[in-house]
Symmetry: C2
């Protein structure tokens, strides 16, 4: 049958277009500096008519959602990779934060899409919580000594870490902040110190705060 899927004169697509579109979108996001991707450009990149995506995504925003999801997955992968060589304890938390900031730095457009999408949908998909980056932070916190049964304490601590990492990641976009602007080394040292303190903070916070 269609064994010569490549040799055909591009009549209809008929492969896994959905995936093809997501990959095309990723390619465009990596190429351009701005994160304002155009639905039509994605279709063009995938070699499809401007209306084709609408059979796989209800909206442009749904395409962006898919791109964001792919980004979250890649972030989690990178976090896991950066986590592997570390030993359990506080260092893991710092490694996670640094991985987060580095991801936001190396993939700024995708990072922005990820964040904007999550913000519009007032709730990150549960998949992210259960097996994604958020879960990694939570696990690292438990490993570093937090009481696994203290649900509220865990939430508080994860949020604190997340806030710090995200705050630094966004501030790196600003070139104004001199502690961050020099080079990645500076950012790393800064984030390391900040995250260490915050972990301390969350650990102490378990007991009733004065």
């Amino acid at each position: 049958m269609k064994s010569a899927r490549v040799a055909e004169p591009r009549p209809y697509h008929h492969g896994d277009l959905r995936r093809a579109l997501v990959e095309a979108g990723r390619r465009l996001l990596e190429a351009e500096n701005g994160s304002d991707i155009s639905l039509r450009a994605v279709a063009r990149e995938a070699g499809v008519s401007p209306a084709a995506p609408y059979h796989h995504f209800r909206d442009k925003s749904e395409l962006l959602d898919a791109l964001a999801m792919e980004g979250w997955g890649r972030l989690a992968d990178q976090m896991r990779a950066d986590l592997a060589p570390t030993e359990p304890g506080q260092d893991r938390l710092v490694a996670l934060g640094i991985a987060y900031v580095r991801f936001s730095r190396e993939n700024p457009a995708i990072y922005r899409v990820m964040f904007d999408c999550s913000q519009n949908h007032e709730a990150m998909p549960s998949k992210l919580r259960e097996e994604g980056a958020y879960r990694l932070v939570r696990d690292a916190l438990i490993e570093s000594g937090l009481d696994p049964s203290d649900e509220m304490g865990l939430e508080l601590a994860s949020t604190a870490v997340w806030c710090a990492a995200h705050g630094v990641a966004e501030m790196v976009g600003f070139r104004e902040f001199s502690p961050l602007k020099a080079h990645l080394g500076g950012e790393e040292a800064f984030l390391r110190a900040l995250l260490s303190r915050l972990t301390l903070f969350t650990a102490e916070r378990e007991s009733p705060a004065g």
Copy 2:
């Protein structure tokens, strides 16, 4: 002169259109929930043709820049107001952070425009640094005991505070984080604890870190 500016049959505008456009933009940003304002809509709101803004702003992005600047000004005003009733010391820093988060919560669209613009221009205008919100943080840090002559320490501390406040502000957009999602009281308490720790961190950081 044209004392009857209101009674005229709206032939040509000829007032301070630049300001009128910024105000129209602010009105739209406050009305809509999304921050994707349309140049034409702003012109429409100001009662002007779609091309009129181009005599006052080179770009759409320059209009957004002006809107962002206005936002930064209002943020600084609110910070100053929230600062007034507090006494010098650590509380001031917390008050500043809380004011920041509250502003991002009460004016989400403007807040997003402010931040996006600052991020694209890789450097916030110097006005912001010298007399804006950033300066307020810096002053509060000095008041709370930091060495005014230690330029690097001040930069580091301000950045840390800024990162924390911004991180919390952005996370509030996520409804997923339970420590923040309940109500403003929760956010305030959380941010207060976080900022207190960070101030401690920055104060200690003055001495050589081990």
